[in-house]
Symmetry: D2
Subunit: 341 residues, 4 copies
């Protein structure tokens, strides 16, 4: 079986494994206060052009999301997001488990825009009974989104501006950040993300690391005591240096960008091949997730050899499936798949 299910089917990039091996028997202090973590923080601050940012390493994405969100909000405040947002559908109500309502807005290709945010904000505050309604205080977006789409720089800037105007925090979930930065045609850089967002995370789990996400806090209001929140929510790794070492390697000599580029190259190879073969795409995507519409008979056939993610039923005889490439995808596997399609 060759798996295109997801971007976390393999372990870590060999350079990371190498580094973990080399440092394995070194002794360091725990909980992210070692030298490797410190250096990795510096590397990330530099990559983000955000010298004042706080950087924290957490083990996984769901953990990062609810830790950031619950740390920023008061009990009666909620977070606006697209209805397809990961926190709204695929985290078992982790945000609600910390007491906060996810305020879903209808997404367009997985995205929400500044106008929607403004309207939601105004709708709340002009209601005489606003104290009876969850107060919107944060905007959650993902980049790339769950549907593989990307925000443009102008869209990000508009979201930033409306958040500033309304006193909302802008939070970006970058579980697949690398694949967004490396996508063809994007005008968004890591420095843009850092400039426009109050807080965001750079995903490692899906982009070359064994596990780990780097939360970057730009807004000083969100910095105090964040480590308490990490610990309280079970996200403080005893051997924190494992996270530092991985991000150190990812942000050394542009490895993060390089392996992300590879994933995109593989995705475009897949996309072009499928297009040529006449397959229909459910959503236009320039990132590592490709969504196609497939006859159920073809789907049954293909899944004997390849792992794919079943997304949803399209019509009576066709389904939508998701194919993922990653830093680890082999060109030969993509070609074999295209052959079999």
């Amino acid at each position: 079986m060759i798996l295109f299910n997801s971007d976390y089917t393999e372990g870590a990039h060999p350079k990371i494994m190498q580094r973990l091996m080399e440092t394995n028997l070194e002794q360091t202090v725990g909980y992210g206060e070692d030298e490797y973590c410190e250096t990795a923080r510096d590397a990330i601050r530099k990559a983000c052009d955000a010298p004042e940012a706080d950087v924290h390493f957490l083990v996984g994405g769901t953990q990062a999301n609810f830790t950031v969100i619950s740390s920023a909000l008061r009990s009666f405040q909620g977070v606006l997001c697209a209805d397809s947002g990961h926190i709204n559908v695929h985290e078992t109500g982790a945000v609600e488990a910390t007491g906060h309502k996810v305020l879903a807005l209808p997404g367009t290709d997985g995205k929400i825009n500044a106008k929607q945010v403004k309207e939601a904000f105004e709708l709340h505050w002009k209601d005489d009974a606003h104290e009876h309604i969850v107060q919107p205080k944060m905007v959650y977006i993902s980049h790339p989104t769950e549907l593989g789409t990307l925000y443009t720089k102008a869209e990000l800037e508009a979201l930033h501006d409306v958040c500033q105007e309304c006193g909302l925090y802008l939070y970006l979930d970058g579980a697949r950040m690398g694949y967004g930065l490396a996508a063809p045609g994007t005008d968004v850089t890591l420095a843009d993300v850092a400039r426009y967002c109050d807080v965001f995370y750079i995903g490692g789990t899906k982009v070359g690391a064994l596990f780990g996400e780097a939360v970057v806090i730009c807004n000083p209001l969100l910095k105090p005591d964040f480590r308490y929140c990490i610990k309280q929510h079970g996200g403080m790794l005893a051997k924190g240096r494992l996270l530092g070492l991985q991000f150190l390697e990812l942000f050394k000599d542009g490895l993060y960008y390089e392996i992300s580029k590879h994933a995109i190259d593989m995705a475009m190879l897949l996309k072009d091949g499928l297009t040529k073969k006449g397959y229909t795409f459910f959503k236009e995507s320039v990132t590592n997730q490709q969504f196609i519409i497939l006859d159920d008979t073809k789907l049954e056939e293909i899944t004997k050899k390849y792992g794919v993610t079943y997304q949803e039923r399209y019509d009576e005889s066709r389904s939508v499936i998701r194919l993922c490439t990653s830093w680890a995808t082999k060109e030969e596997d993509v070609k074999a798949f295209l052959e079999d399609m």
Copy 2:
């Protein structure tokens, strides 16, 4: 000013006040363990034809809702409800504050149906990644709904059946129960509610009491230790007898039905009068809430003399407003209002 804003603009029915006065200096034990509460529980069990039910008195509706819901669910379970449901929009995220996601379904006139519940249930369980998604475990409905509409007996039965089939709890919010039971054309009785629901509450606040709601638990699985939940969530009134006394009076000699009937008579007077005058209704309602579409200029004029609830903008020059009658509405006030319209 004459207020048609809501059904809680006055105090309590004079008979209730009388009873509170008469018993005021009696001594009783606290926390709902007095004789008045016991007798009131019996009266409610009898009115519901539910001799085995547990009855608990709580101060308010939001409190009743989140206490019942959080008591019944495990942390990762959520409650299905119409998108317009009170718990989804007007309780400041009280259910989420106890850790549970409200799973909103598109409502039709404030209602959801058995088919929607079945589909939501199946959608969850057939997903391979269902552990990443909040598990539906309860269905919340209100009767009357937020839009003044009512379930039919057949609809309630269908919801009951699908809940039984799927292992879901059916919970009915009866903040305005009396006005539903007294509505023209309804075939739903209190005994039906008790037969079809696992748990529900009979509202006192909006139907003649100073305050208070009677939670009725029919499903034995939901009974154990409910008093701990009430106390923990701040709903256990020290002078519990105040609640018992009020419900005792409401369920003596049919007072609850009689005063509910009065509210409906007033609502129908209002409805007929407005219909004759050519006003357009936003929703057809047979209960004590009437929703009409009004020119903004007319609205401005009328609100100089009458209190109404602004519901939403209808179009550029018209708004939707809500008018409420209650046990306390005076016929002369309705007539004066009709005159001025």
Copy 3:
């Protein structure tokens, strides 16, 4: 049976009942935004000599406690209190249910002192691993305490000073405030409480009202959006004017002090009588709760005619019981009790 169990065995002071009757059929807006509430807020601000304070009315004490505490703290912060504190032992973990740890300190006669607070604060911050420990951020005291004891003005001032120094909030639970203010020998006034505390509540339930507590917020940091917290936690009474009316009456012409004084007079009558008869007191108390040590045989005999609260076992043949007086206690009942003892 004559009950000395608690200070909430009767309804409300007749003047309050009278006022509720008179205003019963008036129409007002809901949720505490009516004129009666406004006027009552002014009366309380005046009584507290705190013209800038925010005043909110809640239904009960447990509700007031967890609403205030959870509103003030971030998720990883806790509240210091005496091990005998009401929030630590008699609220079914209501504070923990909002996510916050109660940090119990050994109390002396139900009280904690400035030195203990300082030490707890320093112990936390000098620990290298303080992020692994709940951060103390608030101090909870009650006045009178659960054991009927009182803080002196100097003690309150010292607590205030240490809280200021350490950046902690001082919160005072005044469920029985009136009985503290009216106690012989106390040098603490309501204005002192307002001066020394960041937030406190004045209890109505146990001091003449049917129900209701007035939360007074002096520290501007704790004021924003408190009404959202009340609503989210089920504490926002629909007919809010019921609370306003009761406190209006209590703070008109000194009724609150007058009826508190009566309770203390009755308590002193009881205390003196029991002392003369040779009974031993478990704790020296100058307020409305008196704790005596009683032979089990005597206890069994006396409880045939009188209600008392069993506090704890003293030794093999003796128990500690609590006797409460209140605004409603009749002199003849105290005398009869003394007679029978």
Copy 4:
């Protein structure tokens, strides 16, 4: 610097690293549903002699603790534990953040006994107002404890019996389980732990793994839907096989016991050496944590070359420090340390 601070100063046992390297580019499905996890679960069930147990892998100990505890309890239930228990003092209120009170009992050398549990249970239920008090429903112990001490088989059995009798769950935190099982003189085996506990976890983080804890659920009542709880609380690792692979290696050919034995040998070398040199121990410990009382001047000198954990002040001129050995401790380092002492 040579670190004796903790048992998580190095990476993982070389055999584990080797295995991670070998399998690094294999593709597997995520979230612990791969073959490695399945095989590791079988190996653990076998090692525990618990063929029916459910086994789940989580990333860390705090996460394991609050996920297990919150999964088992209803909102008003609490967990009994020693006052020195990790959940009570060193997890930033993680259990409280899920809404549950930790009910601390005075520990003796970090342990609690069956008699204390029984008393706490009875105290709760005989109180007339038990609904006002958190209901004890689980007992938390750690083995070894925070102070390096161990339960005997008889003590575990007694705790088990009292829990059965009272309807409480017995939960054992085995963060350092291996070091307990390998300690001289212990009569407790892994099978005993599985027989006496309803649920427990076998620690990997401190015993040879990079990270990871294996939660073993023996009581069928605690099994349903536990994976939802893991996901909701951020503990479900995307690349779950990393956890499976590590535990697979640990439980192959007795590696877990072998490396634990080494840590104990090193601890005994340290203990004997220090005893011979006349040092005083704060607590008698037969496991990998040794607590000694040290002059502050000696402490200052020794910490120039060695890392130790400052535990607490002993008296004006002396402190208590903790020294840890682990699977990775080098004999030469222990000898050098003894030399310098």
